[in-house]
Symmetry: C2
Subunit: 636 residues, 2 copies
């Protein structure tokens, strides 16, 4: 955590100094805003939290409810989401209160007596070490609370505007071209409409999104035909795996997906209610909690479930639906104009809850979009950057829905329908990287470079998220995870993995690392040259260096100054960007980094954007040039 | 974290339901209180935080200042303190914001040119793995903030009463025998005195303690004769180890102890100001910050220090002083009456700041005392328990002062005075367990059993803190640290390390674990029999079992019910007390536990109280009998 550089901070260092719109922030929703986010679910809150780091931008997030969500339906948290939480500063706290999945158990009819279930297999979660973060279960309401806290502590002192329902929008002209009609749903003005003008609108308003409707998008996909009862309950049971995630298939019909929840007692069950007649017309939704509990007891036989308290329950039918675009630009208009309205999360993609994916993919929608809006509105980047959001995320949602269809279908199969006895657990184990959130790979674009030099850093796949590895910080000899030093502050990151020479040891000889450092610091075409006058040298680009030596062999005095930028009003040298290799876990070995050195460029949302040789300054300049509008103004 | 067992909790689970005095807690200091704590430093705040878990007890903590401490002087946090913070639920958060010490560097005069310093050695912190927690540096004000948050979230909703200065006390008769005169130091009543009547008073009012004075205790010890300038500053420097803890000895006279601080820039320097003439009469204290900086530059030569901002500075002379008792019972009255007034922390022991010990030892004073007051006031335990506080802690303070004298003397030595070139770093490394906080070993008493069976669990030394080790929780297959499952909730802990049989596999054969479980659950002389009617079965005793098998071999259905107590209004079985061995780190091996099984009794303040065979039910009953007044009332 970086603080005290503007003088001694007495209180919680997580509370950043107020700046820009955060100074005397109006509690009332203004008439004109830069970004209006509709909906305080995971996608909307992450987008807002990211934008809260841009105090030059007026971002407001409206919510139909009068206040905080009390009990949400989503609860599955992939390791990729926990990584994301780490960047927002609350991973360790949410881990402490969440349920952690370390194994999944599979129960099947006992071959000797198919009326009874028996445990047939256990599968360990993340056997491949795809992430150093755990797989969690925690109520969505708590995730939103943490994002809310992050916003409140941000320079912009952001807080949701509760009690506003989105009605419609119209896109016109001028500086604030989107006119949004909102309805007061609470307070003295309840029932009254008002209009807010925005530069950009983000629809994070769920499966029944009115923002989606207003831009002419529709969800398309299959009809629901299988119903599930879902309940969050407290119960006494003799079922031994009640605190373990389980897929339970009975011989007498039906299956259960059991998800233990945080706190030591609560659990969720998805109880199979079977195929639904297309003419059922929603009648299945009137299934009572007693009927769901009865069905659960039948499936669990010979074990019993004595439900003592019901926190929440519902009945739903699985549907898989997707929009073909995530913004307001019609296919025929692509390239001729840039988007003004975006949709995220359930507004774009709906599917079953049982793979624990929805909240996670929705948050990554927000993570993808938030910084892009920030960079465009600050004038760092051209508006064309915004077209990459729909292009990148729509295909991810498509992959998700394909995966979920397969998983839901497997979960609904009868035991006799499986091709092999272990088909379900084999699928679970073999596809683990997908539900953990790490299969996302963005295609080449203005944001994602080509793969010409991928072999210089085989472990940092271009287009995939930057996978952390251990390093040692030189200045304080702390062993750390390199990836955890990247906060969700909207900055690009340039990781310089040094050539084989230690700093200061290259006297006379050519030194690619030192040459690159000099170019980054001084060249007019260096991306750092775009950093605004008066801002800290690392305000837009966080440049870190990792040497191949251990920390005792790195003389920090000889490290080029671009890696030790001056920060704050006292022009203090910030030394925490200089790293050495941990001999017990060599990052060069772990990530397949060429000993000749390499530059790895990482986006603000943690995806690897480019991998280049240390000498490829022209390519590095060319990569960033189109992204740095401030330096090369784009004609309106 | 354990929650939802009283029904669904929507918000932060760290906020416990209000109970007892926490329901409509008066904001004004009442006239009668059970415990009055004077002073909101580390000792006082920990004592209050511990007592906040006893909502049947009215505890108030008064502070002379009008509000929160803005900048404190203590900053060293031993691993033992971080362990303690873990029990109070904030270890992970304070670690995230603190500076972490992983190495210490030693600088000496360059033999070739003694006017210049050179790095002579590096010493790795905690090479012995004495704790899984780190050694930290963070301002005392933040430690107090976290204890304050814990209290506020506790059932008693405790908060300090600011603006009251302690004047005097008198011990009389009656239910609230201690009459305390306080002075309003702020607000409308400023300057007015008031009297509060208390059952017990805790003086945590620092080195100039008036509570100490009021009970006739005096600090005795050596005179100060060596002065140090201390400064917390932001600076630009070419000294390469500015972010590493350093002991720096110059050839030109004087030394520096450098302590990097949280946030990446701030650091503290203790700068040697040399021997003080006894006739100096405090003149050294007028040394200016410019003089301290000048001296620091002279010592650091050839490096320079350009101080840009001074957060705090002071001049002090090292003194080592101690009181001979920590309560109001005179030596001649011991055994005839029990104490009513206690002193803690700097009120009892003062010494140099440079070993980073003071705050840590003070907090352990509070941890030792808090639960004892709670148990006595709740009627669990007899008043005689309170006499153990002074008996246990006075000797610890004596050890601390002896250690600090040695360290201070070494730090003040001139290079030519050392017996060997590495004397300083050798001392630092060889004594590491002491400053880390783990040498405390309480002597046998009503609270600490004899060592007859110590060899059954060699790694859990009786009288020392319970050292955690990895285990796997059976119900959810989570790998965990066993010690981290013990919160600062005032409960005794009984760890049952099972014999070699897995649960349910002992049919017909004698099973010491099952027999002990049955005795604990049902015997009239079991300590659990003291648990109040209507309370959860684990309200006073947290009984956990650790099997020798891995988790796949433990059938939780066959585990005796005392290890799966019913809790809350729905009588839910709490399954998180059943553990298996982690095959990759076998706790039985790591802690030298006999394969025949053993019972390890741990105090609420985490010290091992007893080690007994599984069959020693009579000894277990005899150990607890004197501690459970509710069962065996003591005549007044």
């Amino acid at each position: 955590m970086h603080f005290h550089h503007h003088g001694y901070v007495s209180g919680d260092p997580r509370v950043q100094p107020a700046a820009g719109v955060g100074i005397n922030r109006p509690t009332q929703l203004p008439d004109e805003v830069d970004v209006l986010i509709v909906g305080t679910g995971p996608a909307g809150m992450l987008t807002a939290a990211q934008l809260s780091q841009f105090p030059g931008i007026t971002t407001r997030i409206v919510e139909r409810r009068g206040g905080r969500l009390a009990i949400g339906q989503a609860d599955g948290i992939q390791a990729r989401s926990v990584e994301t939480f780490q960047a927002f500063g609350f991973a360790e706290r949410i881990i402490a209160e969440a349920y952690r999945i370390t194994e999944m158990a599979f129960w099947k009819p006992d071959p000797a007596d198919p009326s009874r279930i028996v445990r047939s297999a256990r599968a360990v979660d993340d056997t491949t070490g795809i992430s150093e973060f755990p797989h969690l279960i925690v109520n969505q309401a708590r995730v939103l609370d943490y994002f809310g806290e992050f916003m409140a502590n941000s320079p912009s002192r952001m807080a949701p505007d509760y009690g506003f329902e989105f009605r419609s929008l119209e896109i016109g002209e001028g500086e604030y071209p989107v006119a949004v009609t909102l309805l007061h749903t609470a307070g003295p003005d309840e029932g009254r409409e008002r209009i807010v003008h925005a530069k950009y609108v983000v629809g994070a308003d769920g499966a029944r999104s009115k923002v989606r409707e207003s831009i002419g998008c529709t969800l398309a996909g299959d009809q629901a035909n299988h119903a599930w009862g879902v309940m969050d309950v407290l119960a006494v049971t003799d079922f031994p795996d009640i605190r373990t995630k389980c897929a339970i298939q009975s011989g007498t019909g039906g299956s259960i997906l059991l998800i233990p929840r945080e706190g030591g007692h609560l659990f969720r069950m998805y109880v199979d209610l079977g195929e639904v007649d297309p003419k059922d017309n929603g009648a299945v939704r009137s299934t009572t909690i007693e009927q769901i509990i009865g069905k659960a007891n039948a499936i669990l036989h010979p074990y019993t479930l004595d439900v003592r308290n019901v926190a929440w329950h519902s009945v739903y039918e699985v549907g898989h639906r997707l929009t073909d675009r995530f913004d307001d630009v019609l296919p025929e208009d692509r390239g001729t104009r840039t988007p003004r309205v975006f949709i995220t999360g359930d507004a774009c993609h709906t599917h079953s809850a049982k793979a624990g994916q929805g909240m996670n993919v929705s948050m990554q929608d927000g993570f993808n979009l938030g910084w892009k809006l920030g960079h465009v509105l600050e004038g760092r980047s051209p508006e064309s950057l915004l077209a990459t959001y729909s292009a990148e995320r729509q295909v991810i949602a498509k992959n998700l829905i394909d995966f979920d269809k397969e998983w839901s279908t497997l979960m609904a199969k009868k035991p006799e329908e499986f091709e092999s006895p272990s088909e379900l657990e084999d699928f679970y184990v073999s596809t683990a990287e997908f539900p953990a959130g790490f299969m996302t790979q963005y295609a080449p674009s203005m944001l994602i470079g080509g793969t010409a030099h991928q072999d210089l850093a085989a472990g940092f796949t271009i287009g995939k998220r930057f996978k952390s590895a251990p390093v040692v910080r030189v200045c304080d000899t702390n062993p750390l995870q390199l990836g955890h030093q990247a906060m969700a502050d909207g900055r690009w990151r340039i990781y310089v993995f040094a050539d084989a020479a230690a700093p200061g040891q290259q006297a006379g000889a050519p030194s690619p690392t030192a040459d690159l450092a000099a170019w980054l610091a001084d060249a007019t075409d260096s991306p750092l040259a775009a950093t605004p006058e008066g801002a800290d040298r690392d305000a837009w680009f966080d440049v870190k260096v990792i040497y191949q030596q251990d920390h005792t062999s790195v003389d920090i005095g000889a490290v080029p100054s671009v890696f030790k930028p001056q920060v704050g009003p006292f022009k203090l040298n910030y030394l925490e960007k200089v790293y050495a290799t941990d001999p017990s876990a060599d990052i060069f070995e772990l990530r397949g980094i060429d000993r000749g050195g390499v530059v790895v460029v990482v986006r603000p949302d943690q995806y690897v954007a480019n991998v280049l040789p240390l000498t490829a300054t022209a390519e590095l300049a060319a990569f960033f040039a189109p992204l740095l509008q401030a330096r090369k103004p784009v004609e309106a």
